[in-house]
């Protein structure tokens, strides 16, 4: 089941004449800007905040150059940014916006109602630590804050995946069975601000994958007179929440289906929810999301060379949470370590968000692995080979003794 990459040997060949993909050296932000261009978005709103905002620099240039035909609005705040696209989406426009850190929080009201309204807004979150103190580095608490509201959340590992997942995000969000907003999380600095080689497909291919957004009989238009979001009382809201819940449940199947089509049309080999790396015979695995996959993969290979059976599972979708996939995967290992690039002060065992979720997902398994939580890389601090080795050793020790070594540990923090 594991799509085993083989390290440096897997470096991609330059584009051949067979593919009409174009290879570009672009950042994660720019990759998402290209996804917007390819998706032929209709309305896009910008407001400056690091590190997401380079996506808007690219989008605005594309519009200025005539490569993208969209209404481009520089809002006066993130709140307006997300309110504007929300309303454009209601009249049938394909929309995109984005933010980072406290900017995302400034838009929080708009984010909540967008999910409640079932509007397929696609957003990029350039993950950034929350103020105070002001800091630009990556932390996942910004995007994670909407995890209970009906936003779909995906984290990516590469600029390529940033572009691909943005296209998948439009497809899934705009599926009438779903109609939920989706945020693509891109680690600040490591992806937002570094340029990678990305295969950019043709518009024709993308058109095969992505059909036009059709709001159907929920379109706000004089030809379809409706009232959207009237005030309710306790007689209605639980039913409305239930509808949202069902839509999120349906999203799982729609995501799986979208990946199938994506792989076929674009010649990729993605598994939708999890990427497993050197897990087949692993005793212990680390689990995490985003770019920390890179140092983890490097460390896993190093430890493998030493005969240590360590693997890695990368979570690609946090919402909808792939409970069954996580259970099926993690039940095979003796010990599991969840790496959180986030915090959840006062949570059970003072663990991170991902740790708590995975712990909950594993609860029903008859044979659960020993579960560790690791908090590291906060504020954009690098996740290092030393750090990952330290985590792995803890897991190996637990696996050997059959006893939980440490419930939750902070890695790489100065005493």
């Amino acid at each position: 089941m594991a799509a085993q990459a083989t390290g440096a040997a897997a470096a991609k060949a330059p584009p051949t004449s067979k593919s009409d993909d174009q290879e570009m050296l672009i950042s994660g932000c720019e990759a998402i800007a290209h996804a917007c261009r390819l998706a032929d978005i209709d309305v896009v709103t910008a407001y400056p905040i690091r590190p997401y905002d380079t996506v808007m620099q690219m989008v605005s240039k594309m519009i200025a150059d005539g490569d993208l035909d969209a209404e481009y609005i520089v809002a006066e705040s993130e709140h307006s940014q997300f309110e504007i696209v929300k309303h454009a989406s209601a009249v049938g426009a394909r929309v995109f916006a984005g933010s980072s850190g406290v900017g995302w929080f400034y838009a929080f009201e708009a984010l909540a109602v967008t999910a409640g309204l079932r509007l397929p807004v696609v957003a990029m979150v350039g993950n950034r630590a929350l103020d105070d103190p002001g800091a630009f580095g990556t932390e996942h608490n910004d995007a994670l804050a909407v995890r209970d509201l009906g936003w779909m959340l995906t984290w990516v590992e590469t600029a390529q995946e940033a572009m691909d997942n943005a296209l998948i995000a439009f497809r899934v969000a705009e599926d009438p069975h779903v109609f939920l907003p989706c945020a693509v999380s891109v680690d600040g600095a490591f992806l937002t601000h570094s340029q990678h080689l990305v295969k950019v497909p043709s518009r024709e291919k993308v058109n095969q994958f992505l059909k036009p957004y059709n709001r159907g009989n929920k379109l706000l238009h004089p030809d379809n007179p409706i009232t959207i979001a009237p005030q309710v009382n306790e007689d209605w809201l639980i039913e409305i929440r239930k509808q949202n819940d069902e839509a999120m449940k349906r999203a799982r199947g729609v995501i799986a289906e979208a990946y199938k089509d994506f792989n076929r049309i674009f010649g990729r080999n993605y598994s939708p929810f999890l990427e497993e790396y050197m897990t087949d015979d692993a005793d212990v695995v680390l689990v995490g999301q985003g770019t920390l996959a890179m140092p983890v993969k490097v460390t896993v290979r190093k430890l493998r060379e030493q005969g240590k059976k360590v693997g890695f599972v990368r979570l690609k979708w946090f919402r909808p949470f792939p409970t069954e996939e996580i259970q099926q995967s993690l039940k095979r290992f003796k010990a599991v370590g969840v790496i959180d690039r986030d915090y959840s002060f006062g949570s059970p065992y003072s663990g991170g968000v991902l740790y708590t979720e995975i712990r909950s997902a594993l609860y029903d398994l008859p044979n659960r692995p020993l579960l560790h939580g690791f908090i590291c890389g906060l504020g954009g601090r690098e996740v290092t080979i030393e750090g990952v080795t330290e985590m792995s050793e803890i897991l190996l020790k637990s696996a050997k003794s059959g006893k939980l070594e440490k419930q939750v540990a902070w890695i790489g923090v100065r005493e």
């Binding site: 409640g116 309204l117 079932r118 509007l119 109609f179 009989n217 929920k218 007179p225 409706i226 009232t227 959207i228 979001a229 009237p230 009382n233 306790e234 007689d235 209605w236 039913e239 409305i240 239930k242 509808q243 069902e246 839509a247």
Partner: protein, 380 residues
């Protein structure tokens, strides 16, 4: 004793302070007898709107454990006493959307008591009140409906007189000494105590049998579940409306069937079509779009939609063309224009009789000092 529940049905805003005094007074009086209780407004009515029927409740129990069954609820499922502080509420209560028009006695237990403040007799009021399949008591406290506003309270003791009747109609709630002690402590006013005492003596109680009352079948609405409700928080808009049924002309807007607002009305406009100059002002200035445009160009206040604000009377440039008349003078919501069209002389007679009942009531604050003048009349 078991838990005793009292509801106060009143006109939003106009009688809010009064309703609060009544429900608080009940709990404070019961406390004097060592009982416990809570007072609360129905959350769905808040924020209240002027005139729209609203409810507050007082629940009294022997002890905290017994009271628990009545806490964290929006409204009790049945009540021992219903107090309606405006007799126009006898026609029914439509507070909030799909609940529809509900009988004023809907929550009343068998042999419970409906207390109404009114200048009318029980025989005059009962035809307005929906039939109930069990017997109950109707208690009348003589007096006009007391309306004031949000900031200036009309202190005419209506609240005390309602409280004063309770030891008569529901002696298990509390006795007169407890009530008097509570009033003295809370309001520090012997005159108020006297008002309550008088009411105890004067309240008139009559048994209402199951076959008495209005035969109207109240509105019912089956609420759809999440599978049939439209997703995306969508409801369909109201259609545009069109001609009068059976005519080529005129315009009657389509109206939302789930909330009709007419139980908000304590007065209704009566139109003298013979005087009407078709100036359009009543139609144009009506905030409830309640005037249908008749095929012959008159404006007919639709009594399903009119909430009785009186703006039409205020803006009408012709003397006594639009006259606000007490709502209790009417038995139905029929079109006045149709009545007039069929029989102009008959209508003129009907109209003359109706407009004798110009409001003795006011909808609240007119000018500073106004209530001081009115208060004496009410206390007697």
């Amino acid at each position: 004793m078991s838990t005793t529940a009292v509801e106060v049905i009143y006109r939003g805003i106009f009688q809010r302070t009064m309703a609060k005094h009544i429900t608080r007074g009940i709990v404070l009086a019961a406390r004097k007898e060592g009982k416990v209780g809570i007072a609360f407004g129905r959350y769905g009515d808040s924020p209240e709107r002027n005139g729209i029927p609203a409810k507050q409740f007082a629940i009294v129990a022997a002890n905290d454990e017994e009271l628990q069954g009545s806490i964290a609820k929006y409204e009790p499922t049945e009540v021992d006493v219903t107090i309606a502080v405006d007799d126009a509420l006898c026609k029914g209560v439509e507070s909030w959307a799909w609940y529809g028009l509900q009988p004023v006695n809907k929550l009343l237990k068998e042999n419970g008591t409906l207390i109404v403040t009114s200048t009318k007799s029980a025989e005059e009021l009962i035809p307005h009140i929906h039939k109930k399949d069990v017997a109950y008591n109707l208690a009348i406290i003589k007096g006009k409906a007391s309306f004031s506003g949000l900031w200036v309270y009309k202190n005419d003791h209506t609240d005390m007189r309602m409280l004063g009747a309770l030891p008569r109609v529901a002696p298990h709630l509390f006795g007169s000494p407890a009530l008097e002690a509570a009033i003295r402590e809370e309001w520090k006013d012997d005159l108020k105590v006297a008002s309550a005492e008088k009411s105890f003596e004067r309240v008139q109680i009559r048994k209402v049998k199951p076959d008495e009352g209005s035969p109207e079948i109240p509105f019912s609405f089956t609420m759809p579940g999440w599978k049939s409700m439209e997703e995306g928080l969508v409801v369909r808009a109201i259609p545009l409306g069109g001609h009068f049924e059976g005519y080529d002309g005129g315009y009657r807007p389509e109206r939302n069937p789930y909330f009709k607002k007419f139980t908000t009305r304590t007065m209704r406009p009566v139109v003298d079509f013979a005087k009407c100059t078709k100036c359009t002002l009543c139609w144009l200035q009506c905030p409830d779009s309640c005037f249908d445009v008749t095929p012959d160009g008159y404006y007919d206040a639709n009594m399903e939609a009119c909430c009785g604000c009186g703006v039409c009377e205020a803006v009408c440039p012709v003397d006594k063309c639009v006259t606000m008349v007490n709502e209790t003078q009417f038995e139905d919501n029929k079109s006045q224009w149709e009545m007039w069209t069929k029989d102009k002389n008959g209508y003129a007679g009907w109209l003359a009789k109706k407009i004798e009942h110009r409001p003795e009531r006011s909808h609240g604050f007119h000018h500073r000092g106004q209530y001081e003048g009115e208060k004496i009349e009410q206390i007697d």
